[in-house]
Symmetry: D2
Subunit: 309 residues, 4 copies
C-alpha cells in the first residue's frame, strides 16, 4: 500500500500548508477551543489494514458522524418501520431549520439533520434509561472499531446540554405532534452524549468499514447489517450527509459521507475503503473545509468516485 500511503502523506502536507482553514464551530465553548491547525486522515481497507497520515491518532468530537452509527443501530431494532418516523429525502435547508419540520407535521426529512437524529435517539432509547442507551451506543461503536478505549468526552456532553436550546426546541416541537415515546430531557441526554463521543481518525475509519464491505466488519467477522442495508445507508449518506452542502460534496468528492461540526468526516468508497478525515475548521455550510478538500483529492487520485473512474 505504499502508493496510498504516499497519496495520504501528500494530502496531509497540502493540508498543513493551507492558508484558509475555515472557522472552528463556535456554538458550544468546548468545540470552539479546539486548535484549528490540526489535520488527520485514515483509510481502512477491506482486508483490515489502516493507512494514516497527519493527526490520525488524535481524538476529536465526532458529533454528527455518530448519526451513521445510531441509524444503523435503530434500523437493526426497528427495520423499515423506522421510516414512518423519519424520511430519507435531502432537506434543502440549513441543518437546524424548523420550517420543514412544521410543513411535514413533525416528521424530519432524514435521519442526518438534527431533528431526524433526535427522532432516532428516541427510538434507540426504546423504554430504557438514557444511561443504558448511551452505554449501548458506545459499546456498538467500540465493537465496530474493535477498540474498547473509545469514550465520551463528558465536558463536551455538558457543554452541549448547556447550549442545547435549539435541539430542545426541535425535540419539544416533534413531541407536540405526538411523535415521541420518551421525555425530551431523556432523548436529548442520549443525543448530546452520542455527539460527544471522541474518536481518532484511525478508530473512525475502522468503525465505518462495514459500510464499505457489504455490511460485514472484516475486523471481527460480524455481519453488522445485511448488504442491502449497507447500500441504503450509503445512499442516505450521499444524499443527506452534508446538510445543505450534500450536493456540493457529491459533485466534488463523489462518495457517500457524513460530516460533523467537530470537523470530522466519514466517507465510504463501496468495496474499496472506509475513510476518516478530520480538520476542525468548517466552511459556511458547516462541513470541514480541509477535510472536504482532502477527500476530493483522495477520491480523484485513487479513482474512487462512485460516479465513474
Amino acid at each position: 500500500m505504499t502508493d496510498l500511503q504516499q497519496v495520504l502523506d501528500e494530502i496531509a502536507l497540502d493540508a498543513a500548508m493551507a492558508a484558509d482553514r475555515g472557522v472552528v464551530a463556535q456554538y458550544i465553548p468546548e468545540l470552539a477551543k479546539v486548535d484549528p491547525r490540526q489535520f488527520g486522515i485514515a483509510v481502512a481497507l477491506p482486508d483490515g489494514q489502516v493507512v494514516c497520515a497527519g493527526d490520525a491518532e488524535t481524538a476529536f468530537s465526532i458529533q454528527s458522524v455518530s448519526k451513521v452509527f445510531t441509524l444503523s443501530m435503530a434500523l437493526g431494532k426497528y427495520g423499515d418501520s423506522l421510516w414512518s418516523r423519519v424520511g430519507r429525502e435531502p432537506s434543502g435547508d440549513p441543518f437546524n431549520s424548523i420550517v420543514q419540520l412544521e410543513q411535514e407535521k413533525g416528521r424530519p426529512r432524514n435521519p442526518f439533520i438534527n431533528a431526524g437524529a433526535i427522532a432516532i435517539a428516541d427510538l434507540v432509547l426504546s423504554g430504557h434509561q438514557p444511561r443504558e442507551a448511551i452505554g449501548e451506543i458506545v459499546r456498538f461503536i467500540r465493537h465496530l472499531a474493535d477498540d474498547d478505549s473509545i469514550r465520551i468526552d463528558e465536558r463536551v456532553a455538558r457543554s452541549e446540554t448547556e447550549h442545547g436550546d435549539r435541539n430542545a426546541s426541535l425535540a419539544h416541537f416533534m413531541r407536540s405532534f405526538g411523535r415521541f415515546s420518551h421525555q425530551v430531557d431523556h432523548v436529548l441526554g442520549v443525543y448530546f452524549h452520542q455527539c460527544a463521543i471522541a474518536m481518532t481518525c484511525h478508530q473512525l475509519a475502522r468503525a465505518g468499514l462495514f459500510l464499505a464491505s457489504q455490511g460485514q466488519n472484516p475486523l471481527t467477522g460480524t455481519q453488522v447489517v445485511p448488504p442491502q442495508r449497507a447500500r441504503r445507508i450509503n445512499a442516505i449518506m450521499l444524499m443527506c450527509g452534508h446538510y445543505d452542502g450534500s450536493g456540493e460534496f457529491a459533485y466534488r468528492v463523489g462518495l457517500p459521507g457524513k460530516s460533523g461540526v467537530g470537523g470530522g468526516i466519514l466517507a465510504i468508497a463501496p468495496g474499496k475503503a472506509s475513510i476518516a478525515v478530520w480538520s476542525p475548521g468548517l466552511d459556511t455550510v458547516g462541513n470541514s473545509k480541509l477535510g472536504t478538500a482532502a477527500l476530493e483529492q483522495l477520491a480523484k487520485r485513487m479513482e474512487w468516485s462512485v460516479f465513474g473512474a
Copy 2:
C-alpha cells in the same frame, strides 16, 4: 448477453402484469392521452450493444430527461461559469415551487428543477433565435444517439405552450432579478420544444451512453465531455434527478437517473450501462412508477448500485 436479456424480459413481464401503474400526467392534454399500459426498457452497454424488452421502440415525450442533454451542452459552452446562474443542491420541494427561488434571489437550486432548466435554456440560446437553439439541441441528441430520425412532437410543444403559465411565471420571476439574457417567450420556446422531443427507449439509452463511459460516446468515438464532467453530471443526476423523490430513488435504485413526466427515466451505471426505461404512469412525486420499480429490480439483479455490490 443472454443473462441481461433474460433479466429485462422478466422485468418487462412483471411490468405487464402490474396492477397499480400510477397515473398518467394530466397537466397537458397531449400527455394525458397516452396509453398507461405501455412499458419499455433498453440497456446500452459500453461496447455499443443495446439490449431491449417491451415497448422499447415506441417513441415517447422525453420531457425533463432532456435537461441532462441541455446541461451537457451548456457546460460545453460556458464551463463552470454556468454555476453562477444555477446551483447544484437538491431542492427539497415540489418541482414547480417558487418558494426557494425567492429565498435565493432568482438562482434555481439545480439545473433539473424547472426553473433551473429554464435558466439553462436561456444560456443555450446565447444570442441566437429560438429556432436555431432548438435545432442545435436536436442535432446534439441525434449525434449522441447516432440516429437522425429523432424529432420534436409539435403537438406536445404546442400543448406545453398553451398550458405553460407556471413556467412563464418562473421565467418572469427569474428575469425580475436581472438573471435573464433573452425574452421570456424565446426562452420558453426553447424549453417547451426540448421537452417535446420524442425518443424511444432504444434511442435514449444510446444517447446517455457517454455518461456511463467517462464522457466518451462509444458509438461515434466522440469525447462528448471530459471524464470529470461526466462524473459530475452523474452526481447531479443522483442528487437532483427525481425532484423531491431523489432520496427515494437513490435509496431504492442506487443509480444516477433523470425522470420526465412523460414517464421516461434515463439511468446511468457508471462504467457498466446506460439504461432507458419508460412507462407513462407516475407516482405522487411525478416519477414513473413502473420505471422506478424496473430500475430497482435491474440494479439489484445486475449488482449495478453505485453504493456497493
Copy 3:
C-alpha cells in the same frame, strides 16, 4: 341603558338558538371538557356601569386574552424598549407557527402570537421568581376589574404545563437566539398561569375599561397607561388580536379585540365601551364563533365600528 340591555338580550337569545356553535378547543383536556352551550356577554361603559346578558357571571379560562394585560404591564416596566424584543406586525400565519420566528431571528412578530406573549412573560419576570410574577399579574388584573375574587384555575395551569410542548419549543427556540433572560421553565410557568386565569364576562369587561377610556380606569380613578399607550394597545389588538383571523374580525366587527382559545373575546369601542363576550366553540382559525357573531351584531346595532358609523 334599556336600549343596550335589549340589544344584549336579543344577541344572547340568538346565541342560545344557534345551530353551529363551533368546536371547543381540544389541545388541553381541561378546556375540552367545557360545555359548548354556554354564552355570556357584558358591556362596561365609561361611567362604570356594566350591562350583561346570558352567562355573564360564569367564570371561564381567559387564555390569550391575558396577553393584553401582560403587554400593558410590560409596557409600564420597559416602555418602548420592549419593542426590541417583539414586533407589532400581523403574522399572517397560524398562531403557533415557528416559521416566521426563524426568519426573523427569534423576534416574534407581535405580542399576541404565542411566541410574542412568551417573550413578554420573560420581561414580566424581570429577575423574580415565577411565583412572584404570577402574583403580580393576578393583582394587576384584580385591580383593573376592582374585584379581588379573580383566581387562577390550577387544574387548567397543570393541564397547560403537561401539554405545553409546542410552547416549550417556541421558548427554547427564542432562547437559542440569546433573547431570553430567564430559564425556559420559569418563563413557561408564568405564561401557563396567566393563561389559566379564570374570569367572568362581567369581570373581563370591567378589566378592559381603561382601554376604552384613554388609559384611565373609571372604576378606581387610576391612570393605568397614558392615553397614547391605550390607543396603541388598541391598534395592536385590531391588527393582531385574532391570529390569522384578524383581518376577518376587523372586516366584520370593526373593533380592536383579543380572543382566547377558551372562547372569550375582549373588544374595545374607544370612548364608548369595553365588551367581553364568551362562548366556548371556536371557528377554524381558533376564535369564538358565537362571540364574533355577537360582536358583529352589537357593533352594527350600536354603530360602534371604528371605521365609520
Copy 4:
C-alpha cells in the same frame, strides 16, 4: 378652518426641513427621476371643503393607491362573491412575495398586495378590452374627484410594462391555478395603467371622501358604495394598506390608509376627513417616509385616531 390650515402649514414646514427624506423608488426609471424634495398634503372635509399645504397641486403617480378605487369598482360589480378570488388578511410578507400565493393555491391574501390587485384587475376587465376597462377606471376616479382633468401618465405606464417581470410572474402564477378569466397581457395592461394615473393631493383627497362619509360623495351627492361597504374598505385599508408596515402605520397613525410607491398615501378619518399626502422618499418597507410622519402628526393634533381621542 384656520386651525386645520395652521396645522397643515406647520406639518409642511417640518417636512420641508426634514433631513432624512427616505429613498425614491428605483424599480422603474420614470419614478426614480422624481425630485425627493417635494411634499404636499390636502385634507377634504365632509362638507366638501379642501384645505391644502405644500405641493398639494403637483400631480404624482398614485401607483398602489389606485387599488382602493379598483377594489371599490370591483365590489360594485361583483359584491361579496369577489372574496372567493382574494382574501382580506394581512400578508405578513414583503409586497411582492410569491410564497404565500403558492401556499394558498393562487388566492392572494388581500386586494392591496400586488397579486391581489392584479386579481382585481382581472375582475374589472370582465370580458372587455383593456382600453375600455382603463377608461372605466379613469372615469370612475374623475367622477369621485369631480375633476375631468385627471389623466394617465403614459411614460410611467410604458416604464411599468417594460419592468413588469415580477408582476407578470405573479399573473402567470395565479393563472396556472385556473384563477384568471383573461389573458395575462390584458390584465397587466389594465394594472399598469391604473398605477400610472397621475393625481394631485387635492384631487386625491377629494376622490377618497366617500370613504369618510358613509359611502356618499358629498361633492356630487352620489352614494358611491353602501355605508357598510365603506366601513369594510376602511377596515381592509387599515389591516393591509401599508404592506408589511401596516401594523406600524396603525400603531403610529391610527387611521385606515393606502400607500403607493410613488410616495402618495390616502388616509381616512371616518366621519371627519379624507387626507392625501405625498412625498416621494420611501422607508425600507416602501411607504412614504415624510408622508407617514405627517399623518402621525396630523392624527395626533386633530385627535383623529380611530383608537381613541
